[in-house]
Every structure is written in C-alpha cells, then in structure tokens.
C-alpha cells in the first residue's frame, strides 16, 4: 500500500564526493517489500522545488522501522535534501513500483548484480535478500572515478565484488561490461541498475539468461497516473502499447520494454 508520511531523519552521511547516505524512520517502512522499489521525496514544504524526487530504497530495517537511501546531491532538490539533519522531516511517498523478483533463484545458484554510479544503491538490499536465501552473489559496480566510489565494502561482505572506474583511478579501468567479459563471470541471473547505456549493453550481451533491469525516467506523479515515464514494449516498439517505469517498473525483465 502506498503511503505518504513525514518521516524523521535518523542519520545523514556523506559517503563519497556529493554522495549521501540518508536513513529515515517511520511507519511507512512496514509497507516495504521487494528490493528495488523506490520512494518519491518532497524535500521542502513550499514550491521550490515543486516536484518530488524519485530515489531508490537501498536498505530496509524492518525492526527499527528505518530505511536508507543513497543519492547524489546535484540539482536543487537533492542539494536541499543533503542539508537535512537528524530530527528533520522528509515527506516520503512510497513504497513505489515493482522491485527485483528473487523467487526464481534457488540456494546455490549464482546471481550477478551489476550497478553503475547512482544505480548501485538498490543492489545492497537485493544482495542481502539473495544471500539470506543462500544464493551466491557477485557484484560488479562501476563509477566515473575514484572520488565517487561507494558501497564497495558493504557489498564485499555479501559476495565477490568487482569495481570499475571509467578513468581507471580505482579498480579496473573501463565499463562494467568490459569487466564481466574479461573475467568471464558465470551466473544464472543478472540484476542491474544504472545508466541506460549500461543497461542496453548488458541486454545486448547477456540477455540469453534471465536479466532484470531497473530503469530511470523523468517522473511526474510516480504512481502511474500522469504518463510521464512510459516506454514502448519490445513486442510493439512503434505501436501504442506501453509500460510505465514508475508503476509497471522500475524493474523490468530484459526484453520486456525498449530501453
């Protein structure tokens, strides 16, 4: 059930250059189920900025009624968000969308989790859930440069973790797809979140095995009502059939929609 709640900031940490980790608390956490869902945040009371900002759920702590997000402070909204201090409120709408399905994977099977930049955060909760089930996880996470690498250590605790940077200042130089190819990584299912070119490359290379991709699109409502975030289906790429990233996604099976 989608709720709207003024949640309380428990903690806010700068974990890399312009990258913040924000933990909030409230009843809304009770509604959270799948990893890969997102919330829609209003960062001020007034109309500057006017719209909500979609941010993925990175970790869920049901016991404490807390969840964590990781985001890049860039534009007006996320910059204001990064100024929030413990005790401040954030207006959260969520949980929204459909996350990564984990049912088909059995204990002993291998999942490849691929993240690019600010697409890495939702993989953390996903990885935890998979590990709980006994699934073996491998992480490949890519960043622009050393300054903006994050979540490496958290993911390492859960499974083998490879880091790439575009400029080679940390980990392997290149893109995540380069690394997967070079290391000839083996896996049963892929889960990925990151920039569209990365998702496209993954789909081209590895979608003979099950692959779930989390998409990004500019949003209005975030709940499926405004048609801001639609994409064509691959079955009917020039026609009128569509999926909404916010409510049908953000996670889709590779091959489902045109990315």
């Amino acid at each position: 059930m989608i709720k709207k709640e003024l949640m309380t900031v428990i903690n806010q940490l700068r974990i890399a250059k312009n990258i913040f980790q924000l933990t909030v608390e409230g009843e809304l956490v009770k509604e959270m189920s799948e990893p890969g869902q997102f919330v829609h945040l209003k960062v001020t009371e007034g109309s500057a900025p006017l719209l909500r900002r979609p941010i993925s759920i990175s970790e869920i702590d049901k016991e404490k009624n807390q969840f964590t997000m990781i985001y890049r402070a860039e534009g007006a909204g996320t910059q204001l968000l990064s100024a929030k201090k413990p005790g401040d409120n954030v207006d959260v709408l969520g949980p929204l969308g459909n996350g990564f399905p984990t049912e088909q994977l059995k204990a002993g099977q291998t999942a490849l989790l691929v993240g690019g930049g600010i697409g890495v955060p939702p993989l953390l909760e996903l990885s935890k859930r998979l590990v709980e089930k006994g699934v073996i996880v491998k992480h490949v996470i890519g960043f622009e440069t050393l300054d903006v690498v994050f979540l490496e250590h958290e993911l390492k605790r859960l499974g083998k973790t490879y880091v790439t940077t575009v400029d080679g200042t940390y980990g392997s130089k290149g893109f995540v797809t380069d690394l997967i190819t070079n290391y000839e990584l083996e896996f049963d299912t892929t889960f990925a979140c990151g920039p569209t070119p990365m998702l496209r490359a993954l789909e081209t290379l590895y979608s003979h095995k099950p692959m779930y991709l989390s998409l990004e699109e500019r949003m209005g409502c975030g709940i499926g009502a405004c048609f801001a975030c639609v994409c064509h289906t691959q079955a009917d790429p020039d026609g009128t059939s569509y999926k909404k990233v916010c409510s049908d996604g953000p996670v889709f099976l590779a091959g489902e929609v045109v990315i």
Binding site: I2, K42, M219, G222, A225, C226, F227
Partner: protein, 311 residues
C-alpha cells in the same frame, strides 16, 4: 455547504482532479476513496489509441512544470470498455476530456463517450498545445472554436464544457464565441506554452521541445482570465491552474469559478483532493460564509458579502 449544481453535474463539492493529472482514476482509487470527489476529469480520449510523445515528457520549472505527454491514451473504445466501466463502481460523476486533430474526431468521440452512463459532461480539449497536428488552432481562433463547439453539441448526450487555452491575445472574445455556439460551460485554464533548455547540451529538455506550463507559477494568469471571462459570459466556469491550497480554491471561486480542478498538485501530494475537500468547510466558516456558492464571483459581483442563503 459544499454542494454545487452545474449543467449535467450535481457535485458533492466543487473539487475535482484536472484532466491528465489523474489518469482514469485507478491509481488514486488505490490510495483513497474517489467517491469523495466532486467529479473526475479523465485523461483526454481520442478516437484511436495514441502513444504520445517520446520521453522526457516532463520538466520541472520554478513553481511549475512543463509537460508534453502528447495525449497518450488507449483510444475511445478501450476507454469506454475498460476505464469508464470500471469507474462505475464509484459514486462520482465523470467529465470526459475529448481531444482530436479535426472536428470529426471530436464529434466521433463525443457521440460515443457521452453515452456512457457515468459520463455526465464532456470537456472539449481544444487547447492542448502538445500535439503537433491540429489541436492548437481550435482554441485560438474564435470562429473555429465556435464551429467545433456547435458540431460537438449536436451529437453530445450530455452538457458540453469547453476548455480554454490561455495562449491567446483575447480570452474573452473566444469565450463569448464558444458561449454563443451553445457550450454549457467553460473550463479554464489549460497550460501556458513554455520551454526549458538543458544547460549541458543546449537542447530543450522535453523531446517535444515545447510543453505546457502548469502549477502555481500560472495561477495569477488563471485568476486574471477567470475574472475577465466570468464577467462576460453567463455559463459557469470550472477553474484550474496552480491550485494547491484551500485558499487557492477560494481565490479561484472569488474570481468567478463555480468549481475548481486540481492538476499538478496531485503529483506533489496524491491526497490533495480529499485534503482540500476536508479543509474547505472550516476555511469558509472562518471567512464568514455558510455555503460555497456565496463566494462565486465575489471579486466583482458584490461590494460586500451577500446575505446568507441555503440551497
């Protein structure tokens, strides 16, 4: 103290979601009881299904947003079969927003959609600036707007409201032509044509380049136009453009609107419509009114508060 009577519409209260900002109601019905609403203005329906424009389709601006959805909708047939039928479970009148590229399109859609039992009024979207072919002209040339109104009135089973575009030199002239052509009411305003550029690429953020500006930024323009038009026509107006608070609702009704629609604010707060409905009676009382009808056109109708009356 909130009920409002308009041609074809017996509203529990004067608050309804604006077309395109509420889909066909499903998403909101999941989070609250939409029977509370005065009415629902559904997303524009065209004769054939439309996918709409490429994304990005929305961009934020100061106190507003641009959209260029491009009239995405499943087409007349599916709207009637799936959406309107599904909406029958709720005790709420539907205002069907109708769009098209030529007069025949509007006529065709209106003829069929107005037969749906829960469609109590038609809203002619003659102002949507997002579709490259047609659309824009209907709302900017008085004679064409009148011609379209007449054609649609001829086939509609329910009252017809015409939605005015604010992107015109003389809104009163167009409103009068539409009234003369037999419209039962007006809804106003649709979005202002705007644009935003990406700092890095230099290109428009919207793939459609231009889009419609909505939200609080346009409220003063809406108020001005409703103030002008409501004094020049004798048909009722449903007002919209930037409504966010109960004070905004009252300001629109003071200006001359008999009811209001809430668009962009649904995205900021999906519970906005029921919240406004809840808050309105107390705020009216605070300001000294017993019924919402007392405030309609107050900016120009009365020098002082009118005597109380209960309908």
């Amino acid at each position: 103290m909130l009920n409002v009577q308009l041609p074809g519409l017996s509203l529990k209260n004067p608050i309804m979601p604006a077309s395109g900002c509420f889909g066909f109601g499903k998403e909101y019905a999941n989070i609250y009881d939409v029977s509370q609403l005065g009415a629902i203005m559904i997303k524009a329906t065209t004769s054939e299904p439309r996918f709409g424009n490429a994304t990005p389709r929305v961009a934020e601006t100061e106190a507003g947003m641009l959209n260029a959805i491009g009239l995405q909708n499943p087409g007349l047939e599916k709207v009637i079969e799936n959406e309107l039928t599904w909406l029958e479970q709720f005790d709420v009148p539907i205002i069907a927003n109708v769009a098209g590229s030529q007069i025949e399109d509007y006529v065709e859609v209106t003829k069929e959609i107005s037969k749906s039992p829960n469609v109590h009024a038609i809203e002619l979207n003659i102002s949507c600036p997002n579709v490259k072919t047609g659309g824009i002209a209907f709302g900017t040339v008085p004679e064409i707007a009148a011609q379209l109104t007449r054609a649609v009135k001829n086939v509609s089973e329910v009252p017809v409201y015409v939605k005015l575009s604010p992107n015109v030199t003389n809104i009163v002239e167009i409103a009068k032509a539409i009234e003369q052509a037999g419209a039962d009411g007006l809804t106003m305003i649709n979005t202002l044509l705007g644009m935003r550029l990406n700092l890095k690429t230099g290109k428009p953020i919207l793939s459609n380049k231009t889009g419609g500006l909505s939200g609080p930024a346009i409220k003063p323009v809406a108020i001005r136009m409703i103030y002008e038009v409501s004094q020049s026509v004798n048909i009722p107006i449903i007002g919209m453009g930037g409504i966010q608070t109960v004070d905004d609702v009252i300001e629109f009704m003071y200006a001359g609107a008999s009811a209001v629609a809430v668009g962009t604010a649904n995205f900021v707060n999906p519970f906005i419509c029921p919240e406004l409905i809840d808050a309105l009676p107390e705020r009216l009382k605070e300001l000294g009114f017993d019924h919402v009808s007392e405030i309609v056109g107050r900016s120009w109708k009365y020098d002082r508060k009118t005597a109380h009356y209960c309908p």
